[in-house]
Amino acid sequence: MTKERLIVETNTTPALPRFVKLRHDKGRDRWIMLAPERILTPDPIAVEVLNLCDGVKTVGEISGHLAEIYNAPTEVIEKDIKTMLQDLADKGFLIS
């Protein structure tokens, strides 16, 4: 069985795979994502999105939630989130 590319849609329920670890790097006071041979440093907004990726909430719900907090149009937020998550999926760091 070969894998298929995950395409991030509004009804996708994104989550980080077990081997991708999002954690706070105390010594350097920043958030990091640890993955095989990679250390990513997501910006604060990305961290907020990633903390909402629990495999239950959809991309649409996450966008709606953040749109409310930041008082911004959902479509704009959703577009940004999809781009960011698709990029992660293409690196193999996102499942649904």
Partner: protein
């Protein structure tokens, strides 16, 4: 966290390291002729104890290390791998096991996963079982590897397949890619081997031609597009055919360290090849101290020491003048410009050697082994 400072300007670039290559042993059942271990292997009787490693990982976590590669030799040769792994996990470090896969049972792997192992990197010498076993100098290794790959996936761990590239498999890249996809690997590393240590001794029978390397690059480009989101591919060309050198892990002593089986702390896994460098041992000093103040780390930190052409080159802060080990091997002085750079006066020679040797009839491999006095204890 480390404070930069003191009066030593080299300390300014001494931010905390992020990666630690832990060479747990030089013992290995395989004998790959391109092994990156030093040609003078360290004996098992001098290896760090379980307690030593446990302390090292604690110190490493405090220092800021985020990832570790448990490597060797073959790390699974160590009977206390479980305890060592646990110390790394307890220190909050992301753990990667680099293995040839021929010694691990399913039960043992399961145990490691339970302790908290994050990732397995499996070396695959060739897609052809016979040739794979010939390169590794180990019969039956290939089928054991397939089994291990299957277990890794069954246990839900990510898998990287690592196929070092050279003349004897360079024409099989497409097959290697398909093979890794079939194994379910998330990542494939197809780095052309670099010619230090054992590989240097075998260069004349390992180095591919320039055309072969360029074809590999095209194959990788095509596969990356096709396999987006399925498998990522890291590809590295041999320095000999590069125009500019690879940046050395973000610069010497900037983000990475290696600890040898006996506890020597090295700025790079090949640093022992540079004559005249003295290395400190984790048994004598705190890791943080060694990182900040040892002469081997400070000697080539930053870029101030670099002579021309690097001194006046715009890429100085990009590639840090390339590889110190290669500079030493070729020019006799590790602070020189890496001969892989086309601006180095040695570059012509490097290219000439590569082109000449890549066309020689392949000879028998000189297999990696302990020299007589260095027979491992078991």
């Amino acid at each position: 966290m480390i404070e930069a400072g003191d009066n030593n300007s080299a300390d300014l670039c001494a931010v905390a390291p992020m990666g630690l290559l832990a060479e747990l042993t030089h013992r290995c059942p395989l004998q790959c002729p391109y092994c990156s271990n030093p040609t003078e292997l360290e004996r098992s009787s001098g290896e760090l104890s379980t307690e030593d490693w446990a302390r090292v990982f604690k110190e490493a976590g405090e220092l800021g290390i985020l990832q570790t590669h448990l490597s060797g030799g073959e790390p699974t040769v160590r009977k206390d791998l479980e305890e060592i792994l646990k110390a790394a996990v307890d220190a909050g470090i992301y753990t990667n096991l680099i293995t040839a896969g021929v010694l691990l049972s399913r039960e043992r792997l399961e145990g490691l996963v339970d302790i908290g192992l994050d990732h397995v990197q499996l070396s695959v010498q060739h897609v052809d079982a016979k040739l794979a076993d010939k390169i590794a100098g180990f019969k039956g290794g290939y089928s054991k590897k397939l089994e291990l790959a299957k277990w890794v996936k069954e246990l839900g761990l990510p898998l990287t397949v690592n196929s070092p590239m050279h003349r004897h498999n360079v024409e099989y890249l497409e097959e290697i890619i398909e093979f890794a996809v079939k194994l379910g690997a998330e990542r494939l590393e197809v780095a052309h081997i670099q010619y230090y240590g054992w590989a240097f001794e075998n260069r004349h029978t390992l180095i591919p031609t320039k055309e072969q390397v360029y074809r590999n690059a095209d194959t990788v480009d095509e596969a990356r597009e096709r396999l987006k989101g399925i498998m990522s591919i890291d590809f590295v060309v041999p320095d000999y055919y590069a125009v500019r050198p690879k940046p050395c892990m973000g610069g010497w002593g900037s983000s990475f360290m290696t600890i040898s089986p006996t506890g020597k702390v090295l700025p790079c896994h090949a640093a022992a090849s540079i004559k005249g460098l003295e290395f400190e041992n984790v048994k004598d000093r705190h890791l943080r101290d060694i990182w900040l103040h040892s002469s081997s780390f400070n000697k080539y930190r930053g870029t101030d020491y670099l002579p021309d052409p690097c001194k006046s080159c715009e890429f100085r802060e990009v590639d840090f003048g390339g590889c110190r080990c290669q500079a030493f091997m070729f020019t006799g002085d590790a602070k020189n410009t890496d001969p892989a750079c086309s601006k180095s006066s040695f570059h012509k020679d490097l290219l000439e050697i590569a082109e000449r040797e890549s066309k020689l009839e392949p000879k028998e491999f000189l297999y990696r082994k302990f020299t007589k006095q260095q027979q491992p204890a078991e």
